[in-house]
């Protein structure tokens, strides 16, 4: 909001560069306060200028006039507190207005109104694409495998398109995105999977991971080499998951009410809800959520780090309890498959907690209690991961290699390497030998590993394990 010093007519001279700089600085400070919007700052600035002009007319220098005028205006926090009291709604409304009303200057993105049109258009497109297979005789009821396998392909292209548009991605980036989505679709649908094949299930699990990271390339506007942009994408992913969950809860309530309300009049809405409302709503919501996360970015505190703070101690306690329980209860037999899956999910949660606590932390802060807690969390996770690996190797030794076991083995090794090095870096940070930047960089450098592994599982596993 810097305004060029404007020459004033009349005999009072206030357009002195120092005076303008002081006014600009004062304005910048008051705008940072909660409850003060640009129009208030305009009004107060106008007052300051009038006051200063009068003071100068009575013989003060511009500097003195500025000081006296500011003093008389009163303390900024007192003024802003009064503004916030009058407009208490503003503290909340900013959340919505920020997207529609005040696009962050210099961000080089698109106009808000056009943006809303794109968001709605792409959300409708994502919802429609879910029903498009019906034109070729594929129905959700009869071909659940097809829909499970392609779930990500219904909305992620629209999501990538939104970001490619928003960040004005280059032609080359768009080319890469299109090629990646086409390749993903081809791999998922062209391979001749046996019915109920493990490799088909694995593709269903890993294709979304691979495509989500591809969507990340669109999110960062093609700057996938930049570590800070990667971190932004990690933050976005966490917020997206949280908002998506909130919208899903709302959608569930809506679906329940729909069924209940029409049920009163003997109309069965079951098919409509299951085949239209829920899936199409979810596809559209995926896009709208992305827009929401973008719009409220920076306006209020993000949720993911808050949840991280709450759950890090709890998960650390859970893992420590497990570290004691597993050896005590271990019977010597290879670990149960379900147990391994649960433990794996737990480790993924740990990784998420580590990622989001880094993404939210001020890197310049000295290590504190929370960092120690997190170090304990990672150590406990490492021990649990070692148990899981041992259990997996036991199963492989006993029953041989299958696609599932190899995939699980690979994922555990990837997690183990990540957590081991993260623990080492965290130790260095606690002993003040390293900065938090090292940990952050390690995590962002590791993202391509996930992509490579997910692509390998989708592209190579089916032929290696002969589509079984």
């Amino acid at each position: 909001m810097g305004r060029a010093p404007r020459g004033r007519d009349g005999n009072v001279k206030t357009s002195d560069a120092g005076f303008e700089a002081q006014i600009a600085q004062w304005r910048e400070f008051i705008l940072k306060r909660r409850g003060v919007v640009a129009a208030d700052a305009d009004e107060l600035e106008s007052h300051l200028r009038d006051q200063a002009a009068d003071l100068q007319a009575s013989g003060l220098s511009p500097d003195e006039a500025f000081l006296v005028a500011v003093k008389r205006l009163g303390a900024q926090d007192e003024i802003s507190r009064e503004f916030a009291r009058v407009h208490s709604g503003r503290l909340w409304k900013q959340l919505v207005l920020a997207g529609a009303d005040a696009p962050a200057p210099g961000e080089g993105t698109q106009a808000p109104r056009t943006e809303l049109r794109w968001v709605i258009g792409l959300a409708v497109l994502a919802a429609a694409s879910f029903k498009a297979p019906a034109l070729f005789g594929l129905s959700q009821m009869d071909d659940p495998d097809f829909f499970a396998l392609n779930a990500a392909l219904f909305f992620m292209p629209a999501l990538a398109a939104y970001f490619a548009w928003k960040r004005r991605a280059s032609g080359r980036t768009i080319g890469v995105l299109v090629a990646a989505f086409v390749a993903g679709a081809a791999l998922a649908n062209a391979y001749p999977f046996h019915s109920g094949a493990q490799t088909e299930l694995l593709t269903g699990l890993h294709l979304p991971i691979a495509l989500w990271l591809v969507t990340g390339v669109a999110y960062v506007g093609g700057e996938w080499r930049s570590h800070s942009r990667r971190m932004d994408f990690i933050r976005f992913s966490g917020e997206w998951v949280i908002y998506m969950s909130l919208i899903a809860i709302g959608g569930g309530v809506l679906a329940g009410l729909t069924a209940g309300a029409f049920g009163l009049f003997g109309v069965d809405t079951g098919t409509f809800i299951v085949e239209w409302l829920l899936p199409c709503g979810a596809m559209g919501a995926a896009i709208v959520t992305a827009w929401l996360v973008e719009a409220k970015q920076g306006v209020i505190e993000n949720l993911a780090p808050v949840l991280t703070k709450i759950f890090t101690p709890l998960v650390a306690a859970l893992l420590l309890a497990l570290v004691v329980t597993i050896p005590v209860t271990w019977t010597g037999k290879p670990m149960d498959r379900d147990a391994l899956i649960v433990l794996d999910l737990l480790l993924v949660l740990v990784l998420g907690l580590v990622l989001y606590s880094i993404s939210a932390r001020d890197a310049s802060e000295a290590p504190g209690l929370f960092d120690r807690l997190q170090f304990i969390l990672v150590l406990a996770a490492l021990v649990v991961d070692a148990f899981v690996l041992a259990g997996l190797l036991g199963r492989i030794g006993e029953y041989g290699f299958t696609a599932n076991r190899v995939a699980a083995l690979g994922e555990n090794v990837i997690l183990l390497v990540n957590l081991a090095w993260a623990a080492w870096l965290a130790l260095g940070f606690l002993r003040r030998r390293r900065t938090l930047g090292a940990t952050e960089r390690w995590q962002t450098s590791y993202v391509p590993v996930y992509l490579a592994w997910a692509v390998a599982v989708v592209a190579l596993f089916p032929p290696i394990f002969s589509f079984a």
Partner: protein, 130 residues
């Protein structure tokens, strides 16, 4: 500067702020800085407001529908926000006047019975801010 020989308590200033602003606006449309200048002039410099706090007050009156604001241009070409009293604002001002008159009449009545009050009032101000 404005040398005040009398200290008016914060509560009194706060209570009188809204009727005073409404009264000034009932006279003519105005803007923040001019309203403050008028307050000083009318009170003979006795009433000193923290300038910045006038604006939240104006916004509150605007929200209550007692005044309405428009952005206009000042003589020097800069943006300036002008306030105008609404019919509701005039009603509110009339109500304020009734209340203040009642209070002031009651005070006068009370004090006319107290002899010392006159003596105290006539006493020269001591130890006050100069």
């Amino acid at each position: 500067m404005y040398v005040s020989s009398m200290y008016i308590s914060k509560d009194l200033v706060a209570a009188s702020a809204a009727p005073m602003v409404l009264g000034i606006l009932a006279d003519a449309d105005s803007y923040g800085y001019a309203i403050l200048a008028r307050v000083r002039e009318l009170s003979g410099g006795h009433i000193e407001w923290t300038d910045g706090l006038l604006y939240p007050l104006l916004h509150r009156l605007e929200e209550q529908g007692l005044v309405e604001a428009t952005w206009g241009e000042a003589e020097n070409g800069r943006k300036r926000k002008y306030y105008r009293i609404t019919p509701q604002g005039r009603d509110s001002l009339a109500e304020h006047r009734r209340q203040w008159r009642a209070v002031s009449d009651a005070l006068k009545e009370t004090w006319s019975n107290v002899k010392e009050a006159a003596a105290w009032a006539a006493r020269p101000a001591e130890g006050m801010a100069t």
